[in-house]
């Protein structure tokens, strides 16, 4: 099969990130370079503390790199000042915890990004209602976050990141707190959404099976200092189902990636 090399949508080149605390400097990322194509479902997998989350926080401009360049759609980030609201509105971020604001209702939490980004078209508000419906939260729209279950809260966290129709969705172990059955179901739901919307997704997880189930390509990371050690394409095509899990190829991928992650030095995990 011949593949034409498309221009990458997101590029990180020689990115370093150090966190300086009172007593010491931690190298979260060391010389990380990566590329993500438009519409790709990229997964970054690795043990705790390997810098996975740092990468998407850099792309979403929550933090700035110590050195190196970040480019999205041909636009290079300025490492000294925040990128514009217009540009940042092209991205969505799902946190490890639902990260809902307890003083806002379910619907207010969902609409918050639109408010912050000054988006008030009828189309977006209708889309918000569609998303609520899709994740079965329509009946809870007026409830406060402490009145809904953990799974509902997490689903709300996911659709909130999508409400402004971002081109890039970054997800930081979004289902880590859920039980395995719910998580698989959410993974499949996410794949459906991805197929429908063609969003570029960067998905962070430490779960190898989850990585192989959803990813079209997987970056494997190691810690101390955080770096990318492998780039593994997952050739399951776009039409994925839970049944992929029971194929021989699936376990081959899992074994390969587990081996790449290697032995985890527990003493270095904080």
């Amino acid at each position: 099969m011949e593949m034409t090399k498309t221009k990458p949508f997101i590029t990180l080149e020689h990115v370093n990130k150090e966190f300086v605390t009172k007593n010491k400097t931690t190298r979260a990322l060391s010389d990380v370079s990566l590329e993500v194509s438009k519409g790709e479902f990229l997964v970054i997998v690795g043990a705790s503390g390997c810098g996975k989350s740092t990468i998407i926080r850099l792309i979403d401009d929550i933090i700035k790199p110590t050195s190196g360049t970040i480019q999205v759609d041909g636009f290079e980030y300025d490492n000294t000042k925040p990128i514009s609201k217009d540009f940042i509105s092209r991205m969505g971020f799902v946190f490890q915890i639902p990260n809902l604001y307890p003083w806002l209702t379910v619907r207010e939490n969902l609409l918050l990004p639109l408010k912050l980004l000054n988006i008030n078209t009828k189309e977006h508000v209708e889309y918000a209602e569609y998303l609520l419906d899709m994740v079965h939260l329509q009946n809870y729209a007026g409830a406060y976050p402490n009145e809904i279950s953990g799974g509902m809260a997490q689903r709300l966290g996911v659709i909130r990141a999508m409400v402004h129709k971002p081109e890039i969705l970054m997800m930081d172990e979004p289902y880590g707190a859920l039980d395995e059955l719910t998580r698989e179901q959410m993974d499949i739901e996410l794949l459906d959404l991805w197929k429908q919307l063609g969003t570029t997704i960067i998905f962070i997880t430490h779960d190898v099976e989850e990585a192989v189930l959803v990813g079209s390509r997987i970056y494997v990371m190691k810690s101390d200092p955080g770096r990318i050690v492998a780039d593994v394409p997952i050739e399951f095509g776009t039409n994925r189902t839970i049944n992929n899990k029971f194929t021989h190829q699936f376990s081959v991928y899992c074994d390969q990636i587990t081996e790449l992650i290697g032995e985890i030095d527990l003493s270095k995990i904080k």
Binding site: R57, D61, F95, Y101, P102, L112, L116
Partner: protein, 235 residues
């Protein structure tokens, strides 16, 4: 509570305690009943005016100072010991220093209330403003929200329960402040009444006045609790 009051009542009668030393509880109640409207209430109203005025100024002032301090970690480090210093210094001993500047004016009593109340509001608000979970702030950053927007929409809202804890403690401290102001400055008010009654051994009036002051503090406290319940509706 009832047992204590009963013991008080019985022991004052049983041991023939002089009512100038310790009046029985029923003596206090009858003093309260007889003297509340003609004697205690006018003084209580003077104190209440200073108290409420001082409190109403101290609340926004305290929150504002906390909000400014919260903007920098260095400021927090500098401010915290200063706040604790003002908290432990009885404001009443500062009054003689202030009198040459302000004079024996009602203003000085309001100032005493502010000085007594603001630090606890600052301290509590500051703890609230500086303990917001990083993810909550990151989410706002991920939508390019400005620093002011983040403070107004997230930090402030997240800290509200803590701020209200400060406002409730502030109720109690402002009552102490108002009464100390009366005592230090003289010139009317429930504190002056207590002092005068004590010097003439009208112990029942002393106790009845203290009781009235306590009731005032409890009512103010409940008002703030009621406001809190309505403002923090999500809990």
């Amino acid at each position: 509570m009832i047992i204590i009051l009963l013991l008080w009542e019985i022991s004052t009668i049983a041991f023939h305690v002089d009512s100038k030393v310790l009046p029985s509880f029923t003596d206090i109640l009858s003093a309260f009943q007889n003297k509340f409207i003609p004697i205690i209430l006018p003084d209580l109203l003077i104190t209440m005016k200073n108290l409420v005025l001082g409190y109403v100024i101290a609340v926004p002032l305290g929150i504002l100072i906390a909000a400014i301090c919260a903007q920098s970690q260095t400021l927090v480090k500098i401010a915290t010991p200063l706040i604790i210093m003002t908290l432990v210094t009885p404001v009443i001993i500062i009054v003689p220093i202030l009198i040459p500047f302000i004079g024996f004016d009602a203003k000085i009593k309001v100032l005493v209330v502010i000085l007594q109340t603001a630090p606890i509001i600052i301290l509590n608000s500051l703890v609230g403003f500086t303990n917001v979970k990083q993810e909550k702030l990151d989410l706002m950053k991920s939508y390019g929200a400005s620093r002011f927007e983040i403070f107004r929409k997230i930090t402030f809202m997240d800290a509200l329960p803590r701020v209200f804890a400060g406002l409730e403690l502030g109720c109690i401290l402002s009552t102490i402040g108002a009464v100390s102001g009366d005592i230090a400055v003289g010139d009317g008010g429930i504190g002056t009444r207590i002092q005068m009654a004590a010097s003439t051994l009208a112990t029942d009036t002393v106790f009845a006045s203290i009781l009235s002051t306590c009731l005032l503090a409890i009512i103010l406290f409940q008002v703030v609790v009621w406001i809190e319940r309505n403002v923090i509706a999500w809990k």
